[in-house]
């Protein structure tokens, strides 16, 4: 019995691995989400008070820190608002100089984050918009800070977004104003992104901002802010720089996001 099940399992894994995000298993996953969605909503609404209480109890220190942080942020927001207006004007100028498309030129759908992903090995969030709202797999998702990930599964009224820090995500990035391009790869929740494929000697330094490169075959349009370079080092004997990047967007406390109705094919 065990041997038969193992053989079936290996066969399923092999077929699924070859099909990627398409094929019968992707359709089965979409169908399962559609079927489960109303039941999940019901269970969630019933158990939410208990869940909130337990979450508060289990994450008391984190919530306390967040509370303190928010108090400091509110205190600093008044002064920052004036500064932000100036920075926004500067950012618009930089984008114009770089001939980058404004994100407002790309149609988008606002969505609310309704849940975290169910698994420990995936950095995902669930949105309350699905294929009925025009969403499809592969579309980029942004928040106020910048790129947060892309849609990796869609059912009729729900979609799953895999976040930038998921190790399976790779984003083509470049430093505006230079010809430096690379690939930012997720390293798990809370860890900075690592940029690969940047040769030693390239002009990248700490504090540089990175945007999506938008090169051919890229999954994201050009010019979406991705993150800021935290550190650049050149390991002995290495041909490529080791670059750490902190994402602009807060990937932990997401509430509302915007899905860009964009694909590499349609632009």
């Amino acid at each position: 019995m065990l041997l038969v099940l193992v053989l079936v399992g290996v066969t399923l894994v092999t077929i699924s691995d070859r099909n990627g995000n398409s094929g019968i298993f992707a359709r089965a996953r979409t169908y399962a989400r559609d079927v489960a969605n109303p039941f999940q909503s019901g269970v969630h609404s019933v158990l939410q008070p208990v869940g909130n209480f337990l979450y508060g109890a289990l994450n008391y220190k984190t919530l306390e820190k967040q509370n303190q942080l928010l108090r400091r942020q509110v205190a600093g927001d008044q002064g920052a608002a004036v500064q932000a207006m100036g920075e926004q004007a500067q950012a618009a100028q930089v984008l114009a100089q770089e001939n980058l498309p404004y994100l407002s030129a790309i149609p988008s759908v606002a969505a609310q984050v309704v849940d975290l992903g169910a698994a420990n090995f995936e950095q995902t969030i669930e949105l309350d918009r699905g294929s009925a709202n025009g969403l499809s797999v592969g579309q980029p998702v942004v928040s106020a800070g910048g790129l947060i990930g892309s849609v990796t599964a869609v059912s009729s009224h729900l979609s799953t977004v895999t976040l930038l820090d998921d190790p399976s995500v790779t984003v083509g990035v470049r430093v505006p104003g230079t010809g430096v391009v690379g690939a930012a790869v997720g390293e798990g929740e809370g860890n900075p992104l690592q940029v690969e494929d940047v040769n030693v000697g390239s002009h990248v330094s700490r504090g540089d901002d990175l945007v999506t490169s938008g090169l051919q075959l890229e999954h994201f349009p050009a010019g979406i802010p991705v993150g800021r370079v935290l550190s650049v080092s050149s390991p002995a004997g290495a041909l490529q720089l080791a670059i750490s990047v902190s994402p602009f967007a807060d990937l932990v406390d997401l509430q509302f996001v915007r899905v860009l109705l964009w694909s590499p094919q349609t632009g």
Binding site: G9, V13, S16, F25, Y55, D115, N120, E122, G188
Partner: protein, 210 residues
């Protein structure tokens, strides 16, 4: 006989459906340091503990398949393989090693869940899912620890529910087999009177060896 099997299948299917609903809703609220419990792996381990190796493998495979339906970045069938092997291993160890004691339930649940996590990561890595180990050894150790604690915490209700669901022919071969439809319980979870009657000959046997 066939009707009894059908009833068992329906009950196990319902239990797995409840498990995945709790996993995808309530489980997220129980995250500690961003690690959530794995109720489906717990049910697989419970099936092995209650029903024996074959039942553990079959129910574990089904539980894993249900889990796979709600995952995105890992191949379909990977959780099924891991849960199948974990359920089988717990069932096998239950025959050979474990004793029919209530206090073993949380220990078995914790150990079986850790085994399931390790199998998931190792098998995934073998088929090219290198992102599963990207968090590093410390991250995996914390994950396994948190999941083990949650498995121990929820083990008793999960195992009792699995025992009720497996009542019938599916549980006939296990060390803590479920009560038959006729009402005869062959396990001690939670039928402790029966456990003591089973334990006595074992003690005599040990004394005899000495």
């Amino acid at each position: 006989m066939r009707a009894s099997w059908a009833r068992t299948v329906v009950k196990v299917a319902l239990l797995l459906a409840v498990g995945i609903l709790l996993q995808t809703t309530f489980g997220n609220d129980l995250r500690v340091d961003d690690f959530a419990p794995d109720f489906m792996m717990l049910l697989a381990v419970g099936a092995g503990f209650v029903g024996g190796p074959d039942t553990g493998a079959v129910v574990g495979f089904a539980a894993g398949l249900v889990s796979d339906l709600f995952l995105q970045s890992t191949p379909f069938g990977l959780s099924a393989l891991a849960a199948c092997l974990a359920g089988f291993a717990v069932g096998w160890a239950g025959n050979e090693v474990l004793r029919s004691r209530l206090f073993m339930v949380p220990l078995v649940a914790a150990g079986g869940t850790v085994l399931g996590v390790v199998l998931f990561v190792v098998l995934g890595y073998l088929v090219g899912q290198s992102q599963l180990v990207a968090g590093g050894g410390h991250w995996l150790a914390v994950l396994a620890l948190v999941e083990a604690c949650y498995a121990a915490l929820f083990s008793l209700p999960a195992f009792v529910l699995m025992r009720v669901a497996l009542a019938g022919p599916a549980a006939a071969s296990g060390p803590l087999s479920a009560p038959t439809p006729g009402g005869t319980a062959s396990g001690d979870l939670p039928n402790r009177r029966h456990a003591s009657s089973r334990a006595r000959p074992r003690r005599r046997a040990r004394a005899g060896v000495r």
